[in-house]
Symmetry: C2
Subunit: 330 residues, 2 copies
């Protein structure tokens, strides 16, 4: 009888100690180098999730919002949704041969960026209308899925959904493991993201917010209309958060001036301690280096504000061990 | 040594059998009377959650949408949000004494429904504007919370959030326990529901869809504007589902013709077996009895369609053992 108790006691101690040592040694952010950036994330999470902390936040209020382009995946040499747009114009041209002689379509087909730029906002709207609207929600989803499974990035020769940031995927998981609910809040198209973002980021479609077009319902089908419903950039981000989430986030992650208002709104949370982070693209060799003077993902005013207000700034080159998930398999 | 094993074995068997017998005897819908309505719900849930079933649906696609007024809580003698509106007009009148002589405010203050009706849609918009807009999202949330904690229903003398349907609350829990994600899709105001619906229904604010006004962001604050953003009734319900969820539901629950398109859209799910349910208000004694000829929650075309298409119809009087949660405590 005594012997059994001894065995059971030893067994329990072994389990207990191995659990403790796992908890102490498993790094939740293995692709992040040690340093003040990583420490600022971990310290914040500990501060708001520790019951005894003065800054403890109940799980219901642990809302974290992430920009997508340039924050969760790359956005150069241009937004990936623009590659989709160009590929769709090319794929549709056999049905509309007149496009070969008509701007802005001609410019897209011939790679004449100046001609496309010259067609202005009206031209871009025409391109968006023929590639993103005039079909049902289900048809559009199918088109995006097919494109994502075939198209490849010109520099990396990888599918676009392979060009997501491994350190940010770890961060999403780490936050969720600590009771956070994670959202995407992107200037990109909500329905361009939903078909693949759930699989890649582990975020369900109803936690994805983005720029949207109006749809019209009839006989079981939602048809996509060439009219803007919500423009989810700059001041549109906190507005989109209000419509979809109905709560101030306590943590927000972006990389450009377009994310500034989302970070500012999070910082203005009236109830809780908050966290703001900018990804600074500093790695021309492994990804791209840009900030104040780029067309895609400009970070100028936001960078100064972040430095003045002690927001966390990720230096991609020095803070991240790897950029893309496929590097781990090489 | 042998004795210990015997004790352990007996102990294990006892635990095992008591667990099994709990699983067999615990009724997930105790406030529902046995019968074909209850059976149709349970059969559907078993059919889509049993791995071996031909109709098995993965958890990601188990989306269930619920109307609120008349489906999750009462809506008579009028929508509860209208009581809120009237109470707000009364509370604000000391600040705007001119309202005492000016329609539609005068009509509201004097309970002169004909005068209010006569002011038409324009009058209603005026009332909505002064009671629901012109303040920040946080101020409005606070106002709704305070009202909900104090105002009482004229017939039942209970707080409005006590007048939710116990059988539907059990249904929400039962679906969630079976891997469903539950949403509210209501013609009522999204920001009128969010402050209390999470607590009462266990549905987070980002899974609540409703009619919304535009907000404008500036300096950390979202201000509510007197402009409609989304009207979430009739065809607006599947449209709202598209904007917020981005997926067809597999189960939808309503009680009026305003819910018809949501149920039709769910029925048109291109991938999965689906379920549609109408709550039919047949209990004048315990709640209210109405369908084809009421101003609030009219069920006419939908009732015929449901009967022809084999949608489930709840007969409140006969299918529900209790209506409100407080009856259980009496």
């Amino acid at each position: 009888m005594k012997q059994i108790y001894k065995i059971l006691a030893t067994f329990t101690m072994v389990i207990l100690f191995s659990t403790l040592s796992i908890a102490q040694t498993t790094d939740p952010l293995p692709s992040w180098n040690e340093g003040k950036t990583k420490a600022s994330i971990i310290n914040f999470v500990k501060d708001v999730t520790t019951k005894e902390s003065a800054h403890f936040v109940a799980e219901d209020d642990r809302i974290a919002t992430f920009d997508n382009d340039g924050t969760l995946w790359s956005e150069h040499p241009m937004y990936f949704q623009l590659f989709f747009l160009i590929d769709r114009i090319k794929a549709l041209t056999p049905k509309f041969p007149e496009w070969k002689e008509k701007q802005p379509f001609k410019g897209v087909l011939e790679g004449d960026i100046e001609a496309v730029k010259k067609s202005g906002k009206k031209g871009l709207m025409k391109l968006l209308a023929v590639t993103h609207t005039g079909m049902s929600e289900d048809q559009f989803t199918k088109t995006v899925k097919e494109w994502m499974a075939t198209a490849k990035h010109p520099r990396f020769d990888r599918h676009y959904d392979e060009l997501v940031f491994q350190p940010m995927i770890e961060l999403l998981s780490y936050l969720r493991a600590n009771g956070f609910t994670t959202f995407i809040v992107s200037g990109g198209g909500i329905d361009f993201m939903r078909p693949w973002a759930s699989r890649v980021y582990g975020i369900p479609p109803y936690q994805i917010i983005g720029t949207s077009v109006k749809v019209k319902y009839e006989n079981g089908i939602n048809m996509r209309l060439p009219k803007l419903q919500h423009y989810d950039d700059k001041a549109g981000k906190p507005v989109g958060i209000h419509y979809h989430i109905g709560k101030h986030p306590i943590a927000a992650f972006g990389n450009s001036d377009g994310d500034f208002q989302m970070l500012e709104y999070t910082d203005a949370n009236p109830k809780h301690k908050t966290f703001q982070l900018y990804v600074h693209h500093t790695d021309a060799k492994r990804e791209y280096a840009y900030d104040r003077k780029t067309l895609f993902g400009k970070l100028d005013k936001g960078l100064d504000y972040a430095r003045e207000h002690n927001w966390t700034i990720v230096d991609m080159k020095n803070d991240w061990k790897v950029i893309y998930p496929y590097e781990l398999k090489q």
